[in-house]
């Protein structure tokens, strides 16, 4: 017998594995987000690129340093820190000061992820924790003037009665209008096109809803994410907006809903795993996001809605366990 094969590997069955690895999944997410990120850089300019670089850089550096200090194996190659950094950047407004972005990335990786044991162990979506942390900490920074492009027709309005976390975006203006008179001071239907294609208010991830939808659909088609979460999310969002007497389409397109529904809420680690659970979770995200918009203090509540549902995910998982083959009732 050939000596070269005398000593071989013995492992447990199965002896073959599906080609999709964790790194593949993460790279697909990056690929799905890349067009939106590039478009943001093209339309918003250098500030957006800076923000992307800072968030991704700090996220990777934090991951690397943590592993080095804790003497754990390096995990940069799994791509999760890259995705976290990218998602975080997409969720921040372009004029975010560099130190706020860096702090957010540091909190995302250090506090929300590595402190809980790294990839797979975090209970909350790291990017959202990072964003929520800085949004609560430096609310004023987020209220800073957004990068205004061609879309100058909206009146400059200070958002009375609201923590204007996303700046004076269309949403904020809409909310202010609604609070003041119960009606909207501008034509919502006219906003569809800019929101879909080229919107310079709010965060990097709000530039083009169309590109985000395309990316999300790509991930669904590739089997990377489950359609149930975005479907439940966006569907509920539309339904609740309609129930509140608002323009459903406007509310779906505006703000961080698309980024949240396709990329944030679908984060594997912090969302439920069963099919039913994912629907419940998506519906919950949509419900809290929509209700938060109409009764809340902030014009946008995507971050907190998803974070809240992250907290509920283990509970949902517990309540929606799949039925075991051959068992009649769940608790038989």
């Amino acid at each position: 017998m050939d000596d070269a094969v005398e000593r071989r590997v013995v492992g447990p069955a199965p002896h073959i594995a599906a080609p999709t690895t964790c790194t593949h999944i993460m790279l697909w997410v990056v690929a799905a987000l890349a067009p939106s990120a590039l478009w943001a850089v093209v339309t918003m300019g250098w500030v957006a690129a800076q923000l992307l670089l800072i968030c991704i850089g700090v996220a990777l550096a934090t991951e690397y340093l943590w592993n080095a200090i804790a003497r754990r194996p390096q995990t940069l190659t799994d791509g999760s820190a890259l995705v976290t950094g990218l998602l975080l950047a997409m969720s921040l407004p372009p004029r975010t000061p560099w130190w706020v972005a860096a702090a957010a990335a540091f909190v995302a990786i250090g506090l929300a992820k590595q402190l809980f044991g790294g990839l797979g162990h975090n209970l909350f979506n790291p990017a959202l924790v990072g964003r929520a942390f800085v949004a609560v900490s430096w609310a004023g920074v987020f209220a800073a003037a957004p990068s205004r492009g061609w879309f100058q027709t909206l009146p400059e309005v200070t958002a009375e009665g609201f923590d204007a976390i996303s700046g004076a975006t269309r949403l904020a203006v809409a909310a202010a209008d609604r609070a003041a008179s119960g009606a909207y001071g501008f034509d919502l239907a006219a906003q569809y096109q800019p929101l879909l294609l080229r919107n310079l208010e709010g965060s990097l991830g709000e530039v083009s809803a169309a590109l985000l939808i395309a990316g999300g659909l790509l991930l669904i088609v590739r089997g990377i994410i489950d359609w149930r979460i975005p479907a439940g999310y966006i569907g509920t969002m539309a339904l609740v907006s309609w129930a509140f007497g608002a323009d459903a389409l406007f509310h779906i397109l505006a703000g961080g809903v698309m980024l949240g529904a396709f990329f944030m809420a679908t984060d594997y680690v912090s969302s439920p795993m069963s099919k039913t659970g994912r629907i419940v979770y998506g519906v919950g995200c949509g419900l809290f996001n929509a209700v938060g918009r109409f009764v809340g203090a902030m014009p946008e509540s995507t971050t907190f809605a998803i974070l809240f549902m992250n907290g509920l995910a283990p509970l949902i998982d517990r309540m929606t366990r799949p039925r075991t083959f051959g068992w009649v009732k769940r608790d038989a």
């Binding site: 071989r8 492992g11 069955a13 199965p14 002896h15 799949p322 083959f325």
Partner: protein, 431 residues
């Protein structure tokens, strides 16, 4: 009739093209045969021959008086040269009889088995489930009194990648398969006989249909792993779930592998004992193909017969790559349950994992599990040695198909952990 798609499952690359068209050929009898006394599930046999004895082809060399067991016959005419321990493909050390075959072999003749009734002949022929489970067939042919078998299902799905031995059998000897099906149906008094074949074997379907009369149905099922798992097969054909903790007979169905059915037909019609089987030798070997191999042939010999390795090999698998066993040593004998020998090249074999891979909770294992379990949860608890929590997630129901490990993007050895949890749960008496 209800045709269901079972829940979950995967469709791994089939890799069957290398052998699916190659006709079954006899493998030459090697210079030495090692016959373990335990080639089946149940009580191991005791050698009934001594060193130096002459044995004839088909002569009983090991048996034991137990309900769940199967005697072992000499596959050749030859001389017993030793009785000692050997390693099996599963890594266990069991007693074995070593036989040196005579130079001249008549592989057509054999000592026929005798018994009072037909079931007795199946028992005496040492027939076990040839799909890999090696459960003594006679036990399955004797269902409990309170259960009535309505349907006999012959399992010709062969959903494991690489393997084509059942496929070739169905193509080349459909008459034996159909005859076996009729025998089984008659023995258990079933009203319906169904042969289930996956859609990727149209030639087998055609061959079987040509043989099957009006009494035997040939059903084509979608190609999806693990279609050949007993419970999933019954569900796909009958739409009935085998209740937890019950035998498949509870749904009125009895499932036998097509090769087993052919062996039963041989035993009943010709009194032929089980002394050889068809083995698919494939992967990184020079002449992949289906070989009719006398039991006791060493895997190393078999690989030589197939032309030796044709490239670097990382794992050699006995059985299919999804459920088979990686061999630590190639000097282990082919036994009744060895359906294939697959030599996996480094790129094809699952990468060797080391240490604690993180679960990223992607849910692929849960979606893929044909039993509706949550493999990640069982494995996570088993990994932390939280056996009670693991047992609460029903590892007992796991059919060990390996889909969870296969789909896991971080390559966690989920099935291995679930097996540990299962063992722990069984030890604590959870059922």
């Amino acid at each position: 009739m209800a045709r269901q798609v079972f829940r979950g499952g995967v469709h791994p690359p089939e890799h069957k093209e290398a052998t699916s068209a190659s006709a079954i050929q006899w493998a030459p009898v090697p210079a030495r045969l090692v016959l373990p006394m335990s080639q089946h599930l149940g009580a191991p046999c005791v050698p009934t021959v001594a060193v130096g004895d002459r044995v004839a082809r088909g002569q009983v060399i090991g048996s034991v008086d137990a309900m769940v067991s199967a005697p072992i016959h000499s596959p050749v005419a030859g001389t017993v040269t030793g009785i000692s321990d050997t390693l099996t493909t599963g890594g266990a050390r069991v007693a074995a009889v070593t036989i040196e075959p005579d130079a001249e072999q008549d592989l057509q003749g054999y000592v026929t088995v005798t018994a009072d009734d037909e079931r007795g002949r199946v028992r005496a022929a040492g027939i076990v489930g040839l799909g890999g489970a090696t459960f003594p067939s006679v036990v399955k042919l004797t269902p409990p009194k309170d259960m009535h078998i309505e349907v006999v299902i012959l399992n010709g799905c062969e959903c494991e990648p690489f393997l084509t031995c059942d496929h070739r059998l169905m193509v080349e000897q459909p008459e034996r398969v159909v005859a076996g099906a009729r025998h089984i149906g008659r023995l258990v008094g079933a009203k319906r006989i169904v042969i289930a074949v996956e859609s990727n074997k149209p030639d087998a379907v055609e061959a079987l249909r040509a043989e099957a009369g009006s009494d035997v149905e040939v059903q084509v099922l979608p190609t999806r792993y693990p279609q050949g798992a007993e419970k999933q097969l019954i569900y796909a054909l009958l739409g009935a779930e085998v209740p937890h903790g019950k035998l498949p007979a509870a749904t009125g169905a009895l499932v036998h592998n097509v090769a087993t059915a052919a062996a039963i037909a041989d035993a009943l019609e010709y009194g032929k004992p089980l002394t050889e089987r068809i083995v698919t030798v494939t992967g990184e070997v020079a002449r992949p193909g289906n070989y009719r191999v006398v039991l006791g042939t060493l895997v190393s010999e078999l690989i030589e017969i197939a032309g030796g390795f044709s490239g670097p090999v990382e794992r050699v698998i006995a059985g299919g790559p999804m459920t088979g066993q990686a061999l630590a040593s190639l000097d282990v004998p082919v036994t009744k349950g060895t359906s294939g020998i697959v030599a996996l090249a480094p790129g094809v074999a699952a990468p060797a994992i080391s240490g604690d891979q993180p679960c990223i909770r992607c849910g692929r294992c849960t979606v893929g599990c044909p039993m509706g379990l949550e493999p990640y949860a069982i494995a996570n608890y088993a990994n932390r040695r939280m056996w009670d929590s693991a047992a609460a997630r029903r590892p007992i129901d796991c059919i060990e198909c390996g889909v969870c490990s296969y789909v896991c993007p971080t390559r966690r050895p989920l099935l291995q952990l679930i097996r540990l949890a299962k063992a722990a749960a069984l030890a604590k008496g959870v059922s």
